[in-house]
Symmetry: C2
Subunit: 297 residues, 2 copies
């Protein structure tokens, strides 16, 4: 099966300076490290990347920093979906203008309980406003955060209306059967698991790969699984390692914990911050984390 | 009791042009009409105003249009809270630079289940970044839409830290006892009901007034209630009228229905549109609405 987006993609975290602006230098170093680890792509500016806490201007700066550092545009999958359609259009056009043709797009998510018809109209107007044949969109289903689920009927309608543009979905709801059903219904449409333990079973049933937070830490092990599907002797210890890291990252609020773990792994202090409403770990949490981190496989 | 914000404030709806950009001329005419009806203030760019569907640039244009039309800055309470703190700061500074000192501020609402500590940090950083003694903030509690409730402990902490800035709250959760408890705990802090039937009982127990959607249609009756508290012979029929209009506005998805009703009331066609994910009413709905509208008191 050939997909427009596939493999191990990292929902890259965003390090911050002391004034809580993005630390672009450290971010770019992290992106390079992720590619060195074996990640196929970097899904920057997602939920883990705190994208919704950054202004349109900051989001542009972050993407431009990665490109300026020489990271190839086809390795980047920026999140460009915000509540206001004109800004989603602006961010997506900005990516395209910089040669980045693949984006991950949240639906507008302020209003809850909106109709499929309304969500279809939102996506359709955005795609038509952008009007660029190169554009490839990965839809983003993360109802536990966005509050706005993407139904199978909506997904089918979007694929039918924009078959060369709507090429995949990141499913972060954690329900493997939902991902499998989407993959089964739409061969060639890239279903990407949002949770690390689900990439393996999803790949076995027609999925395309993953976009996950833990790949900030163990992208190499995810890559091992992707490359050695079916070789249980190789896959099992890799999955066990991923699960151990993921479990620790869920000890506290996930995003600051992942950032703290990247800090412990890399030795850089710029990972110790988060932009409110997220907060960095407290001292007791950090000390507990440090202890358990030392024991990770 | 003296409040910094009080009375009948209208959560003004935003009419749209055929291309779904804001129809500034019609919006300004509506604002004038609302003041003529007797509204004390216009809470533009709130949930009813579809503010989250507009870009920062569009939000600035909408506020500027109202000011350019000669509406006094002290009659305007724009919503300025968005997910990205730098944009909340920008929108609030823009209001202040135009002499508008009172704003309604949503918390950042993409991440759910965040701590009071994190929400306090978010508001505190915004207030400190703005650094303007003139600023008066009405907090915005609308958990059924934003997904982010504001707890009593958070409200108390914000009032304590910023007593001259954090002056009130719009409570749209529909639970009168919650509003009464906040009013009782913080005399002088303006609790504003987000639902029309609750202004009356709230005013009787220390509340300051309302910010509601139905006041787009029957602001005059709300003003009657506000001015004649205790005079049941006047208040009761006014409340009955409000309730009838409100009930009809809830027949279909509320925001487009209110817009359609403003259109029926004013005869202007620019109210027949909504920005996705909201959609205008369908023909059958409109025809049903028209019939019932004709029977309203």
């Amino acid at each position: 099966m050939s997909f427009t987006v596939s493999g191990v993609n990292c929902a890259a975290a965003t390090p911050l300076n002391a004034d809580l602006t993005p630390d672009l230098g450290l971010f770019v170093a992290h992106c390079r490290h992720l590619l060195d680890l074996g990640c196929h792509g970097i899904a920057l500016l997602g939920t883990t990347g705190e994208a919704n806490s950054f202004s349109v201007a900051e989001r542009r700066q972050i993407l431009e920093a990665a490109l300026r550092a020489g990271i190839a545009p086809d390795r980047l999958l920026p999140g460009t979906g915000v509540n206001a359609a004109p800004e989603t259009v602006e961010l997506t056009r900005h990516a395209l203008a910089n040669g980045v043709t693949r984006v991950v797009m949240l639906p507008p998510s302020y209003y809850k309980g909106v109709s499929d018809e309304g969500l279809f109209a939102a996506y359709a107007r955005i795609i038509e406003s952008i009007g660029d044949e190169r554009l490839k969109i990965v839809l983003y289903h993360i109802p536990q955060v966005s509050g706005v689920p993407l139904s199978h009927a909506l997904i089918a309608r979007l694929i039918e209306a924009f078959p060369t543009t709507v090429v995949g979905i990141k499913d972060s709801a954690g329900d493997l059967s939902n991902m499998q059903a989407i993959a089964a219904a739409h061969p060639g449409f890239a279903v990407l698991a949002g949770a690390d333990p689900l990439m393996l079973p999803l790949l076995k049933s027609g999925g395309a790969g993953c976009i996950t937070a833990t790949s900030n830490l163990v992208g190499d092990s995810l890559r091992v699984i992707y490359d050695h599907l079916g070789d249980e002797a190789v896959v099992e210890p890799a999955q066990a390692r991923i699960n151990a890291w993921r479990s620790l990252s869920n000890s506290y609020v996930q995003i600051p914990t992942i950032k703290a773990m990247i800090g412990l792994q890399s030795g850089s202090t710029g990972w110790s911050r988060a932009r409110p409403p997220l907060l960095p770990l407290g001292d007791a949490q950090l000390s507990d984390l440090r202890e358990k981190f030392a024991l990770l496989p």
